[in-house]
């Protein structure tokens, strides 16, 4: 799209982009990128050094390259168990948020009924509720329900707290589907639910991916809730694992660096794959 606009422009405007501004743009962008990723690169590279090397020369390069830290983390720690727990919880949360959020947003967007705006307000009020503030009573409630030390203790509250944003992002998307499409589907014999499944879901895929990725990354990174409700070490998620490992092996700097970089990897990969989609999906939500 950008390309098409570009070539269609008259010459002077096309040349503007290659004015003196470009080298400066690159210089600034490079500086910004460096500040953003230098600490991360340091951690990843540091994982290939030995602790004595790091202590002697904190800012040096690996010499020689040591794989031992990474292999130690992958073989001796609970890394895989924790990654598995994180994955179960993150996928469970994402699936539930997308399904429940889509169903509710569909009703709020495509059905007219008394109390609809009230129901929407009711959900959006959740945007004002800080999840952190509810954590103590949540713990007590989960304890009374005997859900402590189970995946549900993390998944259910995370779903609940992700629903408001999900609905706020999905609703305008679903409202924007033209009325004619719904009428056409009705003429073809589709019920409202058929329309939801065959037309609305496929058409909202970009927005669904956005809310899905946001829920996934939030869940993958969450710490406070798992810290309180998962005391069983076998259920610990990666953020808890990072914290445990770093306080358990304080003197093993290289090992902590390796563990930390391995824990970063999945979220980074996931986000890299979906970045365009997220920016695209947010457009509907942030327009004036």
């Amino acid at each position: 799209m950008t390309m098409a606009v570009n070539t269609a422009l008259p010459q002077p405007s096309g040349r503007r982009q290659f004015s003196w501004g470009t080298p400066l743009t690159y210089a600034l962008a490079l500086a910004i990128a460096a500040v953003s990723i230098a600490p991360v690169v340091y951690v990843v590279v540091g994982g290939f050094r030995t602790t004595p090397q790091i202590v002697a020369n904190p800012a040096g390069l690996p010499d020689p390259f040591v794989w031992d830290n990474y292999s130690r983390v992958l073989t001796q720690s609970n890394f895989w168990q924790q990654a598995f727990n994180s994955a179960v919880i993150a996928f469970g949360t994402t699936l539930a948020v997308v399904v429940l959020g889509m169903a509710a947003a569909f009703v709020l967007a495509r059905y007219s009924f008394r109390g609809r705006e009230g129901l929407y307000t009711f959900f959006t009020l959740g945007l004002l509720f800080p999840a952190g503030a509810a954590i103590l009573p949540l713990y007590l409630m989960l304890r009374d329900l005997s859900l402590i030390n189970s995946y549900y203790a993390v998944i259910l509250p995370q779903v609940a707290f992700s629903l408001p944003l999900t609905i706020v992002i999905l609703r305008p998307f679903l409202s924007a589907i033209p009325r004619e499409l719904e009428d056409a589907a009705a003429i073809d014999g589709a019920s409202r639910l058929g329309f939801l499944w065959r037309v609305a879901v496929p058409l909202s895929r970009p927005a669904l991916v956005t809310v899905g990725v946001l829920a996934f990354v939030a869940s993958w990174n969450s710490f406070l809730l798992p810290l309180l409700v998962l005391s069983d070490v076998n259920l610990h998620t990666l953020p808890l694992g990072v914290q445990n490992f770093s306080s358990q092996y304080t003197t093993d700097t290289a090992g902590v660096l390796a563990f930390t970089s391995l824990a970063m990897l999945p979220a980074l990969l996931f986000f890299t794959l979906a970045e365009k989609q997220i920016v695209g999906g947010l457009q509907g939500a942030v327009k004036g």
């Binding site: 009703v107 008394r114 503030a133 009573p137 408001p164 942030v286």
Partner: protein, 330 residues
Amino acid sequence: MTSANQIRMPAGGAPASPAGPRRPAGARRADNRRKWYEIIGLTTPAIVVYVMFVLVPMGFAVYYSLFRWRGVGPPTEFVGLRNYTLAFQDPIFLDALRNNAIIVFGSLLIQGPIALGIALLLNRRFRGRSVFRLLVFVPYVLAEVTVGIMWKLLLTGDGTVDALLRSLGMGGLVQAWLADLDVVIWTLLAILTWKYVGFAIILLLAGLSNVPDELTEAAAIDGASWWQIQRHVTIPLLGPTIRIWMFLSMIGSLQIFDMIWVTSVPAVRSLGASATMATYMVDNGFFARLWGYGNAVAVILFVISFVAALLFQRFLLRRDIEGAITRRAK
């Protein structure tokens, strides 16, 4: 399931019963009934989960906060508002409030301008732009815990940052970044800025892509410079996006926990130098098992966030989220 529907009704202000037009056509009535089954069927799961895990806990927090309670058995020792007055008399809690204020205002004032500058820059057309965008988002994607541990390693003892400063001839700046009681909160603010500026950039880039190309191109053809276009066309159109970011940043800053918890030594936190309302709440309520007191702090945190959000919503955000929060049910 039914109970959730009953809870929904007062908020929705409408009974969830078929109240369709009184037409004799039975088919129409059947259709109307089916519509209501669909509405209830599709919304109930979301409502149940939301009510149970967001609203009910907050209600319990208010109740528990009125008791002196160690969390064993049902609460019996009613103390009224004593937990609240105790909190506001504790200098550590007041420090936590101050630290939250520093993080809220510091985040807004520092991240906003930086993010706007970077977003405008990354909105220019240049080769490899998407790679730079990805790199800028990296800190935001990482878990706060991971980022916290990472910076702790870089900053503690005579760490890498200090070594770097020395090699640049700025050894005078070397500090006990995370241990000096006067410095630690500013160090944390710097780390939070590094981490969250990417979030502001994502939102601003999404907002920028809504600015029609025709507008900026027309201005360019009229001979406006890049900066003039940004100043007079682009930035004014970003108003709603900026306000939504401010709102989310404020709410996030008020409940900040993870980063503080993993980076600062418990001793530093317990002296108030780096405590926030959330760490204070967890330290006292969960780990010291003062459940009544902890829940009072939870309610204070909730009320402060809620009032701040409502004020913000009322005065700044009203036009931006279409009818989202304060518009009356109609």
